[in-house]
């Protein structure tokens, strides 16, 4: 068994035979052409045909991988039409009296060298794009047919590199996965592989050995490892991994696009909780209806000093745009002495859970608070952002918050900076105090979101991390459930909606209870969205409602 290491670009396990793919090298011959005019004509015609092919590829890619990822073919068309590119070719034909093939090839080399010599990794990868469009024109000039990947059965394609157009044309029924010797994870090929769900590994040195052609192999897209002629143990382990992965994917296929509706027609929103900008992909992949909790702390944790309004705005705006109209609930800064953020200079506390944290810091330091709020309001012009305040215990906090919000809005208006007027404002229900005055709080805000982790701790007076207290800890404590019900009833009585963003939301033993309480939204970790949807769709609330509520 031979083990090779590369970079996994898309997770998934492929098991099958290797088929080595060698792109037909268009041998570029140079010869003298006296009639430059008609040679330029020849190039223009080939360019036109290439543009048509790219348009077809774009249309195909839109269906396969969505518009955003298909854009690369739109960019390719722009590159082909670029004046610098075309002038270089036509000038060469004219001044050097050379054939179109040579001019195209030389121009491709020049441009691709320019990109390859750039420091930026992203730009370096663009060299592939220039080569790709030029190869296409060359193939048309030399009357070559578009090379397609052919094989008898499904195979693992092994190649030196794959251009975006080659990747998108991979017949998924024939390709189990692909492995390339070169390639960067910034390349559009990598992006396409991810979107097409084909296990792929790039940058595998020494993979292009003749003797590997036809050999049995396993591609582990998660770890980036290739096993050629795998031994029995490896085979069994990875076969199991493949099975589990397949189950997850089948669930995805089954439930994606389905509604979160019970057997008797009650609906509930299922959103996802994320702690980082980079998790948005998982949110969309798992078909969450929105983001129920975007923990903004990472911006503060990642930075050496307070993140600026621009830095925050950039992140919030991008998330809002990527979520394309789906609700994004962003929680304002929620840190305390237990999180090590040096530049905050938080004094040591005996009881950080009961201390100077979250909204308390924001109200004491309105500059920091306003910076975040301004960034959020500005970003609200780009999508459906809602703002949520953590650790609320009193009406006076709400009053103060609203004053600050009005200040922020007035400042933005004065500077003609657009923002969403009807932006939703909500609060975390995570303290017993908030639950007990939830009738009053519900009049002041648009929604509640129950932070069950902290609510449980404060209500049961228990530190969940303390092993010694395990026997005293009941995550389904009746007191806690009654708290949630009280908050839910008060919310609805006063025209607010209520969601759950704590861990309890994913606890499927309580899904019936939450549905019976009329909870409007549950936000869970992205990988729980679809299992929760499955659970919701299996429940008939009318049958269990009375029983459940009588127990509370």
């Amino acid at each position: 068994m031979i083990t090779l290491q590369g970079k996994g670009v898309f997770g998934g396990i492929a098991i099958g035979k290797i088929s080595i793919y060698k792109r037909q090298q268009n041998m570029i011959k140079r010869y003298h052409v006296e009639d430059s005019e008609s040679e330029i004509e020849r190039f223009e015609k080939a360019k036109q045909k290439a543009l048509e092919e790219l348009k077809d590829l774009f249309d195909k890619a839109v269906l396969e991988v969505g518009e955003a990822n298909a854009m690369i073919f739109d960019i390719h068309q722009m590159m082909l039409n670029d004046l610098d590119y075309c002038e270089s070719i036509t000038n060469m034909i004219h001044t050097e009296k050379t054939n179109a093939e040579y001019a195209v090839g030389k121009t491709a080399d020049n441009f691709s060298e320019m990109f390859a010599s750039m420091d930026d990794a992203y730009m370096k990868a663009r060299a592939v794009d220039v080569k790709d469009i030029s190869e296409r024109v060359l193939a048309i000039l030399s009357d070559g047919a578009e090379q397609k990947i052919v094989s008898d059965g499904p195979v693992i394609i092994v190649a030196d590199d794959l251009a975006p157009s080659e990747t998108v044309q991979l017949d998924k029924s024939k390709v189990l996965g692909f492995v390339t010797q070169h390639g960067s994870s910034n390349s559009h090929t990598a992006i396409l592989a991810r979107t097409m769900n084909i296990p792929a590994v790039i940058g595998v040195k020494d993979i292009l050995m003749k003797e590997y052609d036809g050999a049995e192999a396993i591609v582990d897209g998660f770890t980036g490892v290739i096993y050629i002629n795998p031994d029995h143990v490896t085979f069994r382990t990875l076969e199991q991994k493949q099975k589990e992965d397949l189950e997850k994917r089948t669930l995805l296929e089954e439930l994606k696009g389905q509604k979160n509706v019970t057997l008797d027609g009650q609906t509930i929103d299922i959103y996802a909780n994320i702690g980082n900008f980079s998790d948005v992909g998982a949110v969309l992949k798992n078909d969450a209806g929105g983001i129920g909790l975007f923990r903004s702390e990472f911006l503060y944790l990642e930075s050496q000093t307070y993140p600026t309004e621009e830095e925050q705005f950039s992140v919030y705006k991008t998330v809002a745009q990527n979520m394309a109209g789906k609700r994004v609930i962003i929680r304002t800064l929620d840190i305390g002495a237990d999180k090590k953020i040096d530049y905050f200079n938080l004094p040591h506390e005996e009881n950080p859970a009961l201390g100077y944290r979250a909204i308390r810091i924001c109200l004491e330091e309105p500059q920091i608070f306003k910076t975040q709020l301004r960034a959020l309001y500005r970003a609200s012009a780009f999508g459906n952002i809602a703002i949520m305040f953590p650790m609320i215990t009193s009406m006076s906090e709400i009053k103060k918050i609203k004053e600050i919000l009005e200040e922020v809005k007035a400042e933005l208006k004065a500077n003609m900076i657009p923002f969403r007027e009807d932006l939703e404002i909500g609060i975390m229900i995570e303290t017993p105090a908030a639950v007990m005055i939830s009738d009053l709080l519900a009049e002041e805000v648009d929604f509640f979101s129950v932070g069950t982790n902290d609510l449980t701790q404060y209500t049961l007076a228990i530190d969940r991390q303390n092993q010694k207290l395990e026997r005293f800890y009941d995550s389904h404590h009746l007191g806690l459930l009654r708290m949630i019900k009280m908050a839910a009833d008060n919310a609805h009585k006063h025209k607010a909606w209520i969601g759950i963003c704590g861990e309890l939301g994913a606890d499927m033993e309580l899904t019936e209870t939450f549905l019976a309480m009329g909870i409007d939204e549950i936000s869970v970790s992205p990988s729980y969205v679809l299992p929760l949807r499955k659970k919701v769709r299996s429940i008939d609330v009318s049958k269990i409602k009375e029983g459940v509520l009588s127990q509370l």
Partner: protein, 85 residues
């Protein structure tokens, strides 16, 4: 001649997708539109030139429009940059 300066806020700088959209936008106008980053300059209607500037986050670029519709061009480019980069 009209011009303005802009500091890139997008994490990825002017990468392929916004470069393409920028070129599309600039190409709507008759005026010559030039992008400058420090010493480097590029024609905003040429995608290789725009990408070649390799303008990254926090870098400042100058946009210069010159021609019959330079006012509209500058306004449009400024709106574009603020919205996309």
């Amino acid at each position: 001649m009209k011009e303005f300066s802009y500091v890139i806020t997008d994490r990825e700088g002017i990468h392929a997708r916004p470069a393409g959209l920028l070129v599309k936008e600039a190409s709507k106008f008759a005026s010559t539109i030039t992008l400058k980053k420090g010493e480097k300059s590029g024609d905003a209607k040429r995608i290789f030139a725009v990408m070649g500037l390799a303008a990254k986050k926090d870098e400042e670029i100058r946009v210069i429009a010159e021609g019959s519709d330079e006012n509209e061009a500058i306004f449009s480019m400024e709106t574009f940059l603020k919205a996309n980069l």
